[in-house]
């Protein structure tokens, strides 16, 4: 791999000598070396990258002691919530499972406070919040628990997901009978549809 580039090579398109895999810089590269003839040939198999495993999210945003990163905190909370729901999935005791689910539900407002990560992130957390609220105390079905667990895992792997993908996640929740819109909004929409008739 070559260094991270740093901008415009002096004198137009001509590349200044670089170390393999360096980030290119606009100030040129002070570290000159005799170029290897093989550098002119790039061996790259088209589509090979598609098979390479993408980076693990925990390696991408490593927790640095003494620093506070919103992303790192959000990933930690998401991990905790996923673990709680995972335990609930495995539990044979419905009361214990419900307690675990309620604990997971309590963490959602905290996740909502990290919504500046992205609009997609906010939509998914909002949808989950209303899905729980609209249950009005009724327990989740196994299918509903599975879909919530899956959506949260997806969110943890791709926290900067697009609005379109977040809407897809919300639709997945709806397909399992979870209502993801605010209760008042539902009433309002009903009123409008009555008014239309």
């Amino acid at each position: 791999m070559s260094d991270t580039g740093t901008g415009v090579p002096p004198g137009g398109l001509r590349e200044s000598p670089r170390l393999p895999d360096e980030t290119v810089t606009s100030v040129g590269n002070p570290f000159e070396s005799t170029p290897l003839p093989a550098r002119a040939i790039t061996f790259e198999v088209q589509g090979a990258l598609a098979l390479a495993p993408v980076i693990n999210i925990e390696r991408l945003y490593e927790a640095v002691p003494g620093t506070s990163s919103q992303m790192v905190r959000a990933l930690e909370v998401l991990k905790h919530v996923i673990e709680l729901l995972g335990e609930a999935k495995k539990s044979d005791n419905p009361i214990e499972a419900d307690t675990l689910i309620q604990s997971a539900n309590l963490a959602l407002p905290k996740l909502f406070s990290y919504r500046s990560i992205g609009d997609g992130f906010g939509i998914v957390i909002n949808s989950l919040h209303y899905a729980f609220t609209n249950l009005r105390g009724m327990p989740l079905t196994e299918e509903q628990l599975n879909v919530i667990w899956r959506v949260l895992r997806e969110l943890r792997e791709r926290p900067v997901l697009s609005v379109e993908q977040a809407v897809q996640c919300a639709e997945e929740l709806e397909e399992r009978g979870l209502e993801v819109d605010p209760p008042d909004l539902g009433d309002l929409l009903d009123e409008f549809s009555i008014g239309d008739k």
């Binding site: 791999m1 991270t4 740093t6 980030t23 290119v24 100030v27 570290f31 993408v54 991408l60 900067v160």
Partner: protein, 238 residues
Amino acid sequence: MASPLTFDDFKPVSLTSEVRFKNAYLLFDRTGQILDDLSESFSEINTVMATPQQSAFVCAEGTFNLELGACRFASGQPNRDAKTFARNSKIFFDIVAGQLQIELFKRIGCRYVLRSEFKTEKESKEALASMMLANLKPTKRFNSSESPTEVLFRWEDATIGATVRLKAETTEIKMNVPIELQAHAPKVDKKIVGLTLDADYYTVAPVEREQWDAEEWLQQKIRIIDKEVDDIVRGGAR
């Protein structure tokens, strides 16, 4: 032996963020749109170079470089508050990824160049030698200098990589002013003697666009670079 130098002796020269991707041929159609979008967030953008395969724009905040398989943002006046730099990088990368429909980054990198100035090149070489980074006895090698004038380290696994380079060098800045303007603006001819510290942090494994928040990532990685480089300059005593 502890190095007499500390990280605080190094002053920032440039800070660069870069993403690489599979050749995005939409660049042929959308460079103008990218420039338009950038104009909404950055004032007084000027085009330095515009070719089908590569374009460069400058504004007060820094330089934007756009290529078929990479783009980068560089700030020539980095301060150690990385927030503004990270935010500007995010705006740029979001626009480019959106316009060129890039879903996967082959590599993302952050490069920080700093310099500690000295009066003479001899002094800067002595400062580098005093850091004992290469762990070699000072003796003439290759019938050249006694101590290395450049030291390079690379750490890399399947996911993350980093290089740190130190070089005692003299940088020459020369700018020729057109003859008709020389009465108003004298030509620039300056030499800077110093020890250059060049740190590059990058990903080896591909990164999905939906995984990466440039603002968060860059701020975090600049802190990591600061911390690690500080330790290396102090002699790796951690």
